[in-house]
């Protein structure tokens, strides 16, 4: 009897240990903030895993040094991971205090819809300890304002410029980067070199998927667009179709660029000296220089519609139900201040997310180049709650189709109908 009881106790103990081990796997994900010794601990989840991560970490370290009562810990994970874990984490109140949900500004709509992001209007103002949203570029402020409320600040700000290989330009007898769209096209053709029916050097490296968009710039140059201010598709307008026809023919007939490249492929092509030009952002400069390219940088050539390029910004937001929203707002006010943005530009090479630092940047030619495009740079599909679906389901497939010889007018008309269906445009 004693033996049976011992065995039963052992069985119960084993089962209890197993159950305890199982339950131990559940619990807090370790990102919630705490107060320790009077210092408020804030956590910030970002997708900045690239070579620019140290620049953001330096900014956070500067904040921690100058604000002894608040300590921010920034972590960086791939964008796909952030996109998968953040919605559920914020919806259940267990996520980080601050986060950059995606590199797509349109992603803020998902979090506004789920009521998990804090409106920042109460801390917006002109004081040094307030979020000075009036100094943000207009396109950014509009993209982050929904129904009159500001929901995010720019974690960074970038514009795209024309990168070119000076050695290839010299070899082709071209003395300066193109200033106009006509020069751009002529140079792209001249810089494309073929031998034995195979292209050995491309004039331009264009990407059509998994990339920061390049094709909208080619449309904007000639006055085309994708969606108008009412949310209605205009990708089949005469100007858009003309631009898409021109550039797709340059790809198909003149082979100025390979087709079907992802963003990383396009970068590799340029850095491996197989393409003479690429349109890209400030994050690419360091990699190209380290690849040994005799690198030139210039503003995107101007078309009939005037100067234009693509702007890119990453939203930085606060969890609505977090325990330390006041301190998080204090961090955002400092992060977007003149001092912090100037420091960030100097460290990262990115233009500042403010438009009132002009003269302070004069000493840095690279930052100045990106910054001087800010007034005319446009965000891609800005302010549209369906921007992610329009990009992945409509625009990218349309570009892929016309690059492979599809009729531009019919592809654009079909895309327009899909855009109107997604946005609910009825006019």
């Amino acid at each position: 009897m004693m033996i049976i009881n011992s065995r039963r106790r052992a069985a119960c103990l084993a089962a209890t240990v197993a159950a305890a081990a199982l339950v131990a796997g559940c619990g807090n994900n370790g990102v919630a903030s705490t107060s320790a010794g009077g210092v408020v601990q804030l956590t910030m989840l970002t997708g900045f895993t690239g070579p620019d991560e140290p620049s953001y970490q330096a900014l956070v370290a500067e904040f921690n040094k100058t604000h002894p009562d608040i300590h921010v810990t920034m972590t960086a994970e791939p964008w796909a991971t952030v996109a998968q874990k953040l919605p559920a984490a914020w919806a259940t109140g267990g996520g980080p205090d601050l986060a950059t949900p995606s590199s797509d500004p349109g992603s803020i709509f998902n979090y506004i819809k789920t009521n998990s992001v804090l409106p920042l209007d109460s801390s917006v103002g002109t004081g040094d300890d307030q979020i000075q949203s009036a100094a943000f570029p207009t396109a950014v402020r509009n993209a982050f304002t929904v129904d009159g409320k500001l929901y995010a600040v720019p974690a960074n700000m970038a514009t795209l410029v024309l990168y070119y290989n000076k050695d290839m330009f010299t070899a082709a007898g071209i003395t300066a980067p193109p200033k106009t769209e006509a020069d751009f096209i002529a140079d792209a053709k001249k810089l494309t070199v073929s031998s034995g029916g195979k292209v050995s050097q491309y004039g331009l490296s264009l990407a059509d998927n998994n990339t920061i968009q390049m094709w909208p710039i080619l449309q904007w140059m000639s006055g085309g667009d994708i969606v108008d201010a009412k949310g209605c598709g205009v990708v089949d307008s005469a100007a858009s179709v003309a631009a898409l026809t021109q550039w797709s023919q340059l790809v198909i007939q003149n082979h100025i660029s390979p087709i079907g490249q992802a963003g990383a492929d396009a970068d590799t092509l340029f850095s491996s000296k197989k393409a003479a030009m690429e349109i890209n952002g400030p994050w690419a400069a360091a990699g190209y220089k380290s690849a040994g390219i005799n690198l030139g940088m210039a503003e995107v050539p101007v078309g009939s519609a005037g100067p234009v390029t693509l702007a890119s910004t990453v939203p930085l937001m606060i969890e609505r139900n977090g325990p330390h929203t006041a301190q998080a707002e204090q961090f955002l006010a400092w992060y977007t201040s003149k001092t912090a943005q100037l420091k960030f530009s100097q460290v990262s090479g990115f233009p500042p997310a403010r438009t009132d630092l002009g003269s302070a940047l004069a000493g840095n030619a690279t930052v100045s180049l990106f910054a001087q495009a800010l007034p005319y740079a446009k965000l891609y599909l800005a302010g549209l709650s369906q921007s992610t679906a329009i990009d992945s389901d409509v625009y990218v497939p349309m570009i892929q189709q016309i690059e492979r010889g599809a009729n531009v007018q019919s592809a654009a008309s079909s895309a327009n109908q899909q855009i109107d269906k997604l946005t609910g445009c009825t006019s």
Partner: protein, 305 residues
Amino acid sequence: MATTTLKPSSGPPRRRSRRRFNSAYLFVAPSVVIIAVFIAEPIVQSAWMSLHDWTIGAASNPFTGLANYRSLWHDSRFWNALRVTLIYTAAVTVGQVGLGLAIASRLRRTTWYSSLLRTAYFFPFVASLVVVGIIWKFLLDPQVGLIDAWLGDLGVGNPPQWLQSTSLALPTVIVVGIWKNVGFTMIVLLAGMQQVPADLYEAAMLDGAGPWRRFTAVTLPALRPALLFTTLIATITGLQLFDLVFAMTSGGPVFSTESVVMYLYEKGFVEFQMGYASAIAWVLFIIILAVSAVQLRVARNRDGD
């Protein structure tokens, strides 16, 4: 004569039985909890979500009945994904089992070089699908890839755009899928061949059967369980296609390699439409169940013959 009927005793034995049952219950409890939490509950939850307009973290997820399934019926992108998945599954299953059988037959005898070749054929199977996909993506790259460079050296002026062409991308993924898994089929079929008694072959030879006749009359019937197993596994894994296209093409160009699971991922984890994604998952589950049932039924009927 009086007869005595032995009644089954109802007292102590039942108590003993219950005691033993209780102890066993405690031991299986952790596994039951794991299965309940990580398998059963998500299955039920996904069925429930598929009947709602469910977005991650939304304040409300209204009940919409079969609306997600009705939308799916009219969703051309879903039908395209299903077409891609079925073509891939059929081609990979036929290629993998056919080629696996051919290789297993050739490498049946154990020699030093057959051992070497078996290892070489099996090696891709143990590699990660994502790693395989990325490596092949590099090899097939028209600008920096080895394959087009070799074709160029052989005088091919415009080598194929393997993963950039809408007509070539899916066949290319199919070939890589077969290459990746043919080693597994080969090993299973080789093990099956080793079990065939040598007497059967000797008897067939005495009856004048040639190599092909011995293969069709002795080897193939003996391999029926192994063939059924490999066909079933290849079919199910084919219908669940995701990793390979995610790494090689991301479903492009123009959705030409987008599988059902890839589409499910896009809807659920990129656009956060979990209700719609759950409906896709349930339709795929029913398809896999139906295809597997048909395969098993066909195999049983043949066994009956």
